[in-house]
Protein backbone atom coordinates (compact mmCIF):
# COMPACT_ATOMS: atom_id res chain seq x y z
CA UNK A 1 0.00 0.00 0.00
CA UNK A 2 1.35 3.40 -0.90
CA UNK A 3 1.75 5.88 1.90
CA UNK A 4 1.90 9.65 1.79
CA UNK A 5 3.75 10.38 4.97
CA UNK A 6 7.42 11.33 4.84
CA UNK A 7 10.03 9.12 6.38
CA UNK A 8 11.28 10.45 9.71
CA UNK A 9 14.80 11.77 9.57
CA UNK A 10 17.47 9.53 11.05
CA UNK A 11 17.83 10.66 14.72
CA UNK A 12 21.23 8.99 14.93
CA UNK A 13 22.51 11.18 12.11
CA UNK A 14 21.30 14.36 13.84
CA UNK A 15 23.01 13.23 17.06
CA UNK A 16 26.29 12.54 15.26
CA UNK A 17 26.16 15.96 13.57
CA UNK A 18 25.55 17.60 16.93
CA UNK A 19 28.43 15.70 18.52
CA UNK A 20 30.74 16.68 15.64
CA UNK A 21 29.75 20.32 15.98
CA UNK A 22 30.32 20.40 19.73
CA UNK A 23 33.63 18.54 19.38
CA UNK A 24 34.77 21.03 16.72
CA UNK A 25 33.90 23.99 18.91
CA UNK A 26 35.71 22.38 21.82
CA UNK A 27 38.80 21.70 19.68
CA UNK A 28 38.82 25.32 18.57
CA UNK A 29 38.50 26.35 22.21
CA UNK A 30 41.50 24.18 23.13
CA UNK A 31 43.62 25.86 20.43
CA UNK A 32 42.62 29.29 21.71
CA UNK A 33 43.39 28.19 25.25
CA UNK A 34 46.88 27.01 24.43
CA UNK A 35 47.90 29.88 22.16
CA UNK A 36 46.29 32.98 23.59
CA UNK A 37 45.77 32.51 27.32
CA UNK A 38 48.46 34.91 28.54
CA UNK A 39 47.36 37.60 26.08
CA UNK A 40 43.73 37.25 27.15
CA UNK A 41 44.63 37.75 30.81
CA UNK A 42 46.77 40.78 29.98
CA UNK A 43 43.97 42.24 27.86
CA UNK A 44 41.40 41.80 30.64
CA UNK A 45 43.54 43.10 33.53
CA UNK A 46 42.54 46.79 32.96
CA UNK A 47 38.93 45.75 33.58
CA UNK A 48 39.92 44.16 36.90
CA UNK A 49 41.91 47.26 37.90
CA UNK A 50 38.96 49.51 37.05
CA UNK A 51 36.59 47.26 38.97
CA UNK A 52 38.82 47.41 42.07
CA UNK A 53 38.90 51.21 41.90
CA UNK A 54 35.13 51.33 41.45
CA UNK A 55 34.39 48.99 44.37
CA UNK A 56 36.77 50.94 46.66
CA UNK A 57 35.10 54.22 45.69
CA UNK A 58 31.67 52.69 46.22
CA UNK A 59 32.67 51.39 49.62
CA UNK A 60 33.98 54.82 50.65
CA UNK A 61 30.79 56.48 49.40
CA UNK A 62 28.61 54.07 51.37
CA UNK A 63 30.68 54.84 54.48
CA UNK A 64 29.86 58.53 54.01
CA UNK A 65 26.14 57.95 54.42
CA UNK A 66 26.41 55.71 57.48
CA UNK A 67 25.35 57.30 60.72
CA UNK A 68 27.94 59.39 62.48
CA UNK A 69 27.48 57.48 65.77
CA UNK A 70 28.05 54.12 64.09
CA UNK A 71 31.26 55.41 62.53
CA UNK A 72 32.50 56.86 65.84
CA UNK A 73 31.88 53.51 67.61
CA UNK A 74 33.62 51.55 64.87
CA UNK A 75 36.54 53.98 64.96
CA UNK A 76 37.03 53.46 68.71
CA UNK A 77 36.90 49.66 68.36
CA UNK A 78 39.41 49.73 65.51
CA UNK A 79 41.76 51.99 67.49
CA UNK A 80 41.77 49.52 70.39
CA UNK A 81 42.40 46.60 68.05
CA UNK A 82 45.19 48.51 66.35
CA UNK A 83 46.84 49.33 69.65
CA UNK A 84 46.89 45.65 70.70
CA UNK A 85 48.25 44.58 67.30
CA UNK A 86 50.99 47.21 67.47
CA UNK A 87 52.21 45.77 70.78
CA UNK A 88 52.08 42.24 69.39
CA UNK A 89 53.94 43.29 66.24
CA UNK A 90 56.64 44.98 68.33
CA UNK A 91 57.27 41.78 70.28
CA UNK A 92 57.35 39.69 67.08
CA UNK A 93 59.78 42.10 65.44
CA UNK A 94 62.06 41.84 68.47
CA UNK A 95 62.01 38.04 68.26
CA UNK A 96 62.56 38.18 64.50
CA UNK A 97 65.55 40.49 64.95
CA UNK A 98 67.09 38.09 67.46
CA UNK A 99 66.56 35.15 65.12
CA UNK A 100 68.11 37.00 62.16
CA UNK A 101 71.13 37.92 64.28
CA UNK A 102 71.70 34.28 65.24
CA UNK A 103 71.30 33.14 61.62
CA UNK A 104 73.72 35.78 60.34
CA UNK A 105 76.39 34.53 62.78
CA UNK A 106 76.10 31.14 61.07
CA UNK A 107 76.39 32.66 57.62
CA UNK A 108 72.66 32.48 56.79
CA UNK A 109 71.97 36.19 56.41
CA UNK A 110 69.39 36.13 53.61
CA UNK A 111 67.40 39.33 53.56
CA UNK A 112 65.36 39.51 50.39
CA UNK A 113 63.10 42.49 49.70
CA UNK A 114 60.44 40.84 47.58
CA UNK A 115 58.02 42.29 45.04
CA UNK A 116 54.91 44.11 46.25
CA UNK A 117 51.81 43.31 44.21
CA UNK A 118 48.18 44.34 44.27
CA UNK A 119 45.51 41.67 44.05
CA UNK A 120 43.36 42.01 40.94
CA UNK A 121 41.12 38.98 41.41
CA UNK A 122 40.40 36.83 44.46
CA UNK A 123 37.75 34.32 45.47
CA UNK A 124 34.76 34.33 45.05
CA UNK A 125 35.23 36.14 41.74
CA UNK A 126 37.13 33.06 40.70
CA UNK A 127 35.84 29.54 41.29
CA UNK A 128 39.43 28.37 41.81
CA UNK A 129 41.52 29.09 44.92
CA UNK A 130 43.85 31.51 43.21
CA UNK A 131 44.83 35.15 43.33
CA UNK A 132 45.62 37.14 40.20
CA UNK A 133 48.14 39.85 41.06
CA UNK A 134 49.44 42.82 39.10
CA UNK A 135 53.12 41.84 39.06
CA UNK A 136 54.60 39.49 36.50
CA UNK A 137 57.83 38.67 34.70
CA UNK A 138 58.44 42.33 34.02
CA UNK A 139 58.58 42.98 37.77
CA UNK A 140 60.83 39.99 38.47
CA UNK A 141 58.21 37.45 39.50
CA UNK A 142 58.99 33.83 38.62
CA UNK A 143 57.08 30.58 38.87
CA UNK A 144 57.64 28.88 42.22
CA UNK A 145 58.13 32.04 44.26
CA UNK A 146 56.24 32.40 47.53
CA UNK A 147 53.43 34.88 48.07
CA UNK A 148 52.77 36.22 51.55
CA UNK A 149 50.82 38.94 53.24
CA UNK A 150 52.82 42.20 53.46
CA UNK A 151 53.34 41.86 57.23
CA UNK A 152 53.86 38.10 57.15
CA UNK A 153 51.69 35.06 56.68
CA UNK A 154 52.16 32.50 53.91
CA UNK A 155 49.48 32.53 51.21
CA UNK A 156 50.64 30.39 48.28
CA UNK A 157 52.99 29.84 45.39
CA UNK A 158 53.26 31.57 42.03
CA UNK A 159 52.14 29.01 39.44
CA UNK A 160 51.83 31.06 36.27
CA UNK A 161 53.36 34.33 35.13
CA UNK A 162 52.54 36.72 32.33
CA UNK A 163 54.29 39.93 31.38
CA UNK A 164 52.71 42.03 34.15
CA UNK A 165 50.35 39.64 35.91
CA UNK A 166 50.75 36.40 37.83
CA UNK A 167 48.52 33.72 39.23
CA UNK A 168 49.14 32.57 42.78
CA UNK A 169 47.76 29.19 43.81
CA UNK A 170 46.69 29.37 47.44
CA UNK A 171 48.03 26.76 49.85
CA UNK A 172 44.44 26.37 51.05
CA UNK A 173 43.22 25.34 47.59
CA UNK A 174 41.06 22.22 47.63
CA UNK A 175 43.26 19.12 47.64
CA UNK A 176 46.56 21.03 47.80
CA UNK A 177 49.05 19.34 50.13
CA UNK A 178 51.68 21.42 51.90
CA UNK A 179 54.34 20.37 54.38
CA UNK A 180 54.25 22.49 57.53
CA UNK A 181 55.23 22.29 61.16
CA UNK A 182 53.06 22.49 64.26
CA UNK A 183 54.61 25.10 66.55
CA UNK A 184 53.70 23.11 69.65
CA UNK A 185 56.25 20.32 69.74
CA UNK A 186 57.76 21.08 66.34
CA UNK A 187 55.82 18.21 64.73
CA UNK A 188 56.01 18.09 60.95
CA UNK A 189 52.55 17.79 59.44
CA UNK A 190 50.87 17.68 56.02
CA UNK A 191 48.24 20.34 55.56
CA UNK A 192 45.51 19.51 53.06
CA UNK A 193 43.64 22.46 51.63
CA UNK A 194 39.86 22.46 51.89
CA UNK A 195 39.22 25.65 49.99
CA UNK A 196 37.91 28.91 51.37
CA UNK A 197 41.12 29.59 53.30
CA UNK A 198 40.97 26.50 55.53
CA UNK A 199 43.03 23.34 55.90
CA UNK A 200 42.65 19.99 57.53
CA UNK A 201 45.26 17.69 58.95
CA UNK A 202 45.27 14.36 60.71
CA UNK A 203 47.48 13.70 63.70
CA UNK A 204 48.04 10.61 65.85
CA UNK A 205 46.01 10.72 69.03
CA UNK A 206 49.05 10.97 71.30
CA UNK A 207 50.20 14.28 69.78
CA UNK A 208 48.92 17.24 71.75
CA UNK A 209 47.20 19.98 69.80
CA UNK A 210 44.84 22.68 71.03
CA UNK A 211 42.71 25.33 69.32
CA UNK A 212 44.86 28.42 68.94
CA UNK A 213 48.08 26.53 68.16
CA UNK A 214 50.03 27.93 65.23
CA UNK A 215 51.05 26.09 62.09
CA UNK A 216 54.21 27.40 60.42
CA UNK A 217 56.00 26.88 57.11
CA UNK A 218 59.18 24.82 57.02
CA UNK A 219 62.57 26.48 56.74
CA UNK A 220 64.90 28.74 58.68
CA UNK A 221 62.48 31.68 58.48
CA UNK A 222 59.11 30.09 59.12
CA UNK A 223 55.99 32.04 58.32
CA UNK A 224 52.58 31.62 59.83
CA UNK A 225 50.34 29.41 57.68
CA UNK A 226 47.35 29.08 59.93
CA UNK A 227 45.89 28.70 63.38
CA UNK A 228 44.20 25.56 64.72
CA UNK A 229 40.50 26.25 64.92
CA UNK A 230 39.04 22.92 66.08
CA UNK A 231 40.18 19.44 67.03
CA UNK A 232 37.84 16.51 66.47
CA UNK A 233 38.58 13.06 67.88
CA UNK A 234 36.23 10.11 68.10
CA UNK A 235 36.71 7.60 70.94
CA UNK A 236 37.24 4.78 68.43
CA UNK A 237 39.45 6.79 66.12
CA UNK A 238 43.23 6.43 66.08
CA UNK A 239 43.75 9.92 64.70
CA UNK A 240 42.76 13.45 65.54
CA UNK A 241 41.14 15.49 62.80
CA UNK A 242 42.26 19.09 63.02
CA UNK A 243 40.74 22.06 61.25
CA UNK A 244 43.16 24.92 60.59
CA UNK A 245 42.12 28.43 59.58
CA UNK A 246 44.45 30.23 57.16
CA UNK A 247 46.16 33.50 57.93
CA UNK A 248 43.83 35.74 56.01
CA UNK A 249 40.35 36.02 54.64
CA UNK A 250 41.21 35.20 51.01
CA UNK A 251 38.19 37.13 49.82
CA UNK A 252 39.54 40.41 51.17
CA UNK A 253 43.30 40.21 50.53
CA UNK A 254 44.37 43.36 48.67
CA UNK A 255 48.17 43.26 48.65
CA UNK A 256 50.77 40.51 48.68
CA UNK A 257 54.55 40.30 48.74
CA UNK A 258 56.26 37.82 46.43
CA UNK A 259 59.67 36.48 47.44
CA UNK A 260 61.99 33.82 46.00
Amino acid sequence: MKTNFRRRSDPGLAGRKRLTLVASVLALAIIVFVLLRSYIVTAVSPVWRAENVFSTTLRNTIDLVRSKDALIRENELLKQELSSYETLLLSYRTLEGGRDEVLSRYGRDESVAGVAAGVLVHPPETPYDILVVDAGEGEGVRVGQRASLPLGGALGLVRETMSHESKVALYSGSGEETQAVLERGGVQVTLVGKGGGTFKLDLPREITVEPGDKVLTLGLRPELMGVVQAVDVEPTDSAKHVLVRGVANVGSVRFVTIRP
Partner: protein, 85 residues
Protein backbone atom coordinates in the same frame (compact mmCIF):
# COMPACT_ATOMS: atom_id res chain seq x y z
CA UNK B 1 18.44 38.06 23.09
CA UNK B 2 20.98 35.26 22.78
CA UNK B 3 23.86 37.61 22.00
CA UNK B 4 22.84 40.02 24.77
CA UNK B 5 22.65 37.15 27.25
CA UNK B 6 26.11 35.97 26.24
CA UNK B 7 27.60 39.45 26.56
CA UNK B 8 26.01 39.95 29.98
CA UNK B 9 27.34 36.57 31.15
CA UNK B 10 30.81 37.46 29.89
CA UNK B 11 30.72 40.74 31.83
CA UNK B 12 29.64 38.83 34.94
CA UNK B 13 32.59 36.45 34.46
CA UNK B 14 34.90 39.48 34.64
CA UNK B 15 33.40 41.24 37.64
CA UNK B 16 30.94 39.02 39.54
CA UNK B 17 31.35 36.06 41.95
CA UNK B 18 31.40 32.58 40.47
CA UNK B 19 28.06 31.64 42.09
CA UNK B 20 26.45 34.24 39.80
CA UNK B 21 28.00 33.51 36.41
CA UNK B 22 28.28 29.70 36.56
CA UNK B 23 24.51 29.23 37.03
CA UNK B 24 23.98 31.82 34.27
CA UNK B 25 25.89 29.60 31.86
CA UNK B 26 23.66 26.66 32.82
CA UNK B 27 20.56 28.84 32.35
CA UNK B 28 21.80 29.74 28.87
CA UNK B 29 22.21 26.07 27.97
CA UNK B 30 18.64 25.42 29.10
CA UNK B 31 17.08 28.49 27.50
CA UNK B 32 18.71 28.52 24.09
CA UNK B 33 18.90 25.61 21.64
CA UNK B 34 22.41 24.29 21.02
CA UNK B 35 23.98 27.07 23.10
CA UNK B 36 27.58 26.56 21.93
CA UNK B 37 28.49 29.96 23.34
CA UNK B 38 28.55 28.17 26.71
CA UNK B 39 31.76 26.41 25.63
CA UNK B 40 33.34 29.79 24.94
CA UNK B 41 32.13 31.13 28.28
CA UNK B 42 33.45 28.07 30.13
CA UNK B 43 36.74 28.52 28.28
CA UNK B 44 36.83 32.17 29.39
CA UNK B 45 36.52 31.05 33.03
CA UNK B 46 39.31 28.47 32.57
CA UNK B 47 41.65 30.85 30.73
CA UNK B 48 41.16 33.79 33.09
CA UNK B 49 41.10 31.96 36.39
CA UNK B 50 42.49 28.47 35.83
CA UNK B 51 45.87 27.00 35.07
CA UNK B 52 47.48 27.76 38.41
CA UNK B 53 47.99 24.18 39.45
CA UNK B 54 44.78 22.84 37.99
CA UNK B 55 46.27 21.50 34.78
CA UNK B 56 45.49 17.92 35.67
CA UNK B 57 41.71 18.40 35.78
CA UNK B 58 40.44 17.82 32.21
CA UNK B 59 43.60 19.42 30.74
CA UNK B 60 43.04 22.57 32.80
CA UNK B 61 39.69 23.29 31.11
CA UNK B 62 37.04 21.68 33.31
CA UNK B 63 34.40 24.34 32.75
CA UNK B 64 34.77 24.30 28.95
CA UNK B 65 34.39 20.50 28.95
CA UNK B 66 31.44 20.59 31.33
CA UNK B 67 29.71 23.23 29.22
CA UNK B 68 30.24 21.10 26.11
CA UNK B 69 28.77 18.03 27.81
CA UNK B 70 25.80 20.03 29.13
CA UNK B 71 25.12 21.48 25.68
CA UNK B 72 25.29 18.02 24.14
CA UNK B 73 22.81 16.54 26.57
CA UNK B 74 20.52 19.57 26.65
CA UNK B 75 19.42 19.19 23.03
CA UNK B 76 17.79 15.73 23.25
CA UNK B 77 16.38 16.68 26.65
CA UNK B 78 14.72 19.78 25.19
CA UNK B 79 13.34 17.75 22.30
CA UNK B 80 12.02 15.13 24.69
CA UNK B 81 10.33 17.75 26.85
CA UNK B 82 8.86 19.45 23.79
CA UNK B 83 7.50 16.10 22.62
CA UNK B 84 5.96 15.43 26.04
CA UNK B 85 4.30 18.84 26.18
Amino acid sequence: MRIAFTIVTLIFILIAPYWLYLPLIVVGVILFPLYLESVGLGLAVDVLYGGAGHGDILFGMPFAFLAAVLTLFAVPLREHLRFQS
